[in-house]
């Protein structure tokens, strides 16, 4: 048997477009797997020469799922350029909208994109293995997912004026305060959402038993983990310090200031993907592989800091092996649910703050610094916006390090692991292809700006011979 390359293009039920290729040797064993990101966006280039105060609006268009994260990271970079103290109420409101986004984004990943695999089965009929199939067989779960997402979107809408691409956070604060009459209606959304997460966690813990033999193949490998934590080590999504932990749980970076990120990791560029490959600088590209996102955040923090999430986090600890951090990427699903729980608790707590409706929500200043770094824990992981501006505030250089980029090496490692575990070298089954895709889906990568194209493209697979010639090709929906 000749060497072959198998291509899955595009990978479906993720945000954006990507493809997978893997190379088989003469015996049909997988020797190499690559996740290619085929989108090219060019934001870093066309943002040049725009005023920095436009950046939250422009960069939030990077993504239709997590526009709030880009808006906030950009506004924080703008805060640094202004060199002002953001009013406390503005910080609280920014946190509030960000937790709302974690709720809706994680709900989308879990219920809409991954639950069809988890509940209907990896090898179930692909025609039904989608959100509509979920509605047919598990209407309660589908309804819960839609409702949970709605709760997050509603909070974003009330605060930011609209649920997708709100134009609200600005350098120096936010544009408008929270109206006192809105507080109760937002607070009323939380109890139902908490109930949804509780029963979903129960369902997930029950269903995951069916995957017990699969778990070790879905990106279960030692790696580093990176995420923000509060200065005292709590779970953090909006501010705080950077922590890097190794596979054994040893903390390599205890509390790095986020603006020093260039000292912590470097990026490599490969010709076969538009996504860059960051790695932990001190250990080099091979050993410096790290993961970010829900799993990494739960690994690097000492505690969540809210009662329900802390209990769920303790239970999450059952996946630790020999006291090491949880290493299986499959557990990102559970980590997302825990983060939704945490976000809802924090939303309720923040809305109870009597100062949340303070009307002083924006500080004004001119350009007081030429460089600004904004960092935030986006749903998919640590997000950096790094701007250099001229004396008038026109952007000269932009560096955006997005969460899906941080996980690039890990995603590639994961699909290799899945291919080696489930590929038999002779037959490519639909179920096998879906497992490969699920390997990407667990990271919930956000490759472009929307899920509006879900269902428009099928899954394309190509067999390439050793010289790159196409041997076989077929497309699935």
């Amino acid at each position: 048997m000749a060497k072959k390359t198998v291509t899955i293009d595009p990978v479906t039920r993720i945000e954006g477009h990507g493809k997978i290729t893997f190379q088989l040797d003469e015996q049909g064993r997988v020797t190499r797997a690559r996740f290619h990101v085929t989108d090219f966006r060019g934001f870093e280039k066309f943002c040049e020469h725009r005023p920095f105060w436009e950046m939250p609006d422009i960069t939030s268009r990077i993504c239709g799922i997590c526009p709030v994260s880009h808006m906030l990271a950009s506004a924080k970079a703008g805060d640094a350029i202004l060199g002002v103290h953001v009013p406390p109420a503005a910080h609280k409101l920014r946190r509030l909208i960000h937790w709302a986004q974690l709720v809706q984004s994680h709900a989308l990943s879990f219920f809409h994109l991954s639950a069809p695999d988890l509940l209907l089965g990896m090898e179930s009929d692909p025609q039904e293995r989608n959100i509509l199939g979920l509605v047919a067989k598990y209407p309660g779960v589908a309804k819960d997912g839609i409702r949970l997402r709605q709760v997050g979107q509603e909070i974003i809408r009330v605060l930011g004026g609209k649920s997708v691409h709100p134009s609200w956070a600005v350098p120096g604060g936010v544009q408008s305060p929270l109206k006192p009459e809105k507080v109760d209606s937002l607070q009323a959304l939380v109890p139902e959402a908490l109930e949804i997460v509780d029963r979903t966690l129960d369902l997930y813990r029950e269903k995951i038993e069916a995957f017990s033999t699969d778990l070790e193949h879905y990106g279960d490998f030692p790696s580093l983990y990176m995420g923000l934590v509060t200065p005292d080590g709590g779970l953090e999504h909006y501010d705080g310090v950077l922590r890097v932990m190794d596979a054994g749980g040893k903390i390599l970076e205890k509390g790095a200031r986020p603006e020093t990120y260039r000292n912590i990791f470097s990026e490599e560029v490969e010709s076969w993907s538009y996504l860059k490959f960051p790695y932990y600088k001190s250990l080099g590209p091979e050993k410096g592989l790290y993961r970010v996102g829900p799993l990494a955040r739960l690994n690097v923090c000492d505690r969540a800091g809210t009662p329900r999430a802390d209990r769920a986090l303790e239970e999450f600890g059952r996946w630790k092996k020999d006291g090491r951090p949880v290493s299986g990427s499959f557990h990102m699903h559970e980590a997302r649910l825990i983060e939704i729980l945490f976000s809802l608790e924090k939303i309720a707590e923040t809305l109870s703050d009597p100062h949340i409706t303070d009307t002083h929500v924006r500080s004004h200043a001119g350009v007081n610094g030429r460089a600004g770094v904004g960092v935030i824990e986006a749903p998919r992981g640590t997000l950096f916006h790094d701007y250099l501006v001229d004396e008038g505030g026109l952007v000269q250089e932009v560096n955006l390090v997005v969460a899906s980029g941080h996980n690039n090496l890990a995603m590639n490692r994961t699909i290799l692991q899945i291919a080696q575990a489930f590929g038999n070298g002779t037959e490519i089954t639909e179920g096998f292809l879906n497992r490969m895709e699920h390997g990407i889906r667990i990271y919930d990568p956000c490759l472009s700006c929307s899920t509006h194209v879900v269902g428009r493209h099928g899954l394309k697979m190509e067999f390439l011979g050793p010289s790159g010639d196409l041997l076989r090709s077929f497309e699935l929906l």
Binding site: H49, E54, D57, R61, S167, V170, Q175, G392
Partner: protein, 238 residues
């Protein structure tokens, strides 16, 4: 003052001699689209959106710069005029970089309103995508050439109402730009009084108050007329 009689859309109309056609058309309650015209400023005839057909002539007339004449018969709305107006709006969009979603004047922009009015949901012309600068040197205001449609309202209000003529135009055709003084950064202008009237009359997001965020811009295009009425007629309408 002598009166003239003309026909507008098959209606007999009386007008004062010397009035321009646009004034008379609007007095008749006809909704004539304009962009460069602004009450209180001299007419420019630049945007050509107010074109009308005159019986006996194949040429379209810009009504803002056409004086009424005895017995003229004009049509203000026809399929042909609609097509031309739509084409003009498309060409304005194609000439520079109008990204409405992130523009300060999104949802309040006169160019955007015209696009909606004429159903411009795509361009039939390849956009030029020129690489244009934004002058953010002024302490309060920004001038983004990407969004400028060269209506020259800013130039006229600066000259005719504020009386300082800081702003003017330089270059021709696609190279044409609004400039301050001798084409220098706005902040270095020694004639600018920082009054901001240029910003208030700009129909798009080309001139705006700095640190205004998308869809949050507000303009006061009524200012030139109000100021003139106050100055010349001593009437101070709200």
């Amino acid at each position: 003052m002598a009166l003239v009689t003309l026909t507008i859309d098959n209606r007999k109309v009386s007008a004062e001699e010397g009035q321009n056609l646009l004034q008379v058309i609007r007095e008749q309650g006809i909704d004539m689209p304009t962009l460069c015209h602004l009450d209180g400023l001299s007419e420019r005839g630049g945007c050509r959106l107010c074109v009308v057909e005159e019986e006996g002539s194949s040429k379209l007339l810009a009504s803002c710069v056409t004086a009424v004449r005895e017995n003229m018969r004009v049509t203000t709305g026809s399929d042909r005029l609609f097509r031309y107006r739509r084409m003009l709006v498309e060409l304005l969009f194609a000439e520079r970089n109008h990204v409405c979603s992130v523009c300060v004047m999104n949802r309040r922009c006169e160019l955007q309103s015209l696009a909606l009015r004429f159903g411009v949901d795509h361009l039939r012309y390849d956009p030029l995508y020129p690489r244009l600068s934004t002058d953010v040197s002024h302490e309060k205001y920004a001038l983004d050439h990407n969004r400028c449609v060269l209506c020259a309202r800013c130039v006229r209000v600066c000259d005719e109402v504020e009386g300082v003529h800081t702003l003017d135009m330089m270059g021709r055709g696609v190279s044409c730009r609004v400039i301050a003084d001798l084409n220098q950064p706005w902040a270095t202008s020694r004639t600018c009084t920082n009054c901001g009237k240029c910003v208030q009359v700009c129909p798009t997001g080309a001139m705006y108050i700095k640190e205004t965020f998308s869809a949050h811009g507000e303009k006061r295009p009524d200012l030139p007329k109000r100021i003139r009425d106050g100055r010349e007629k001593h009437t101070w309408g709200g």
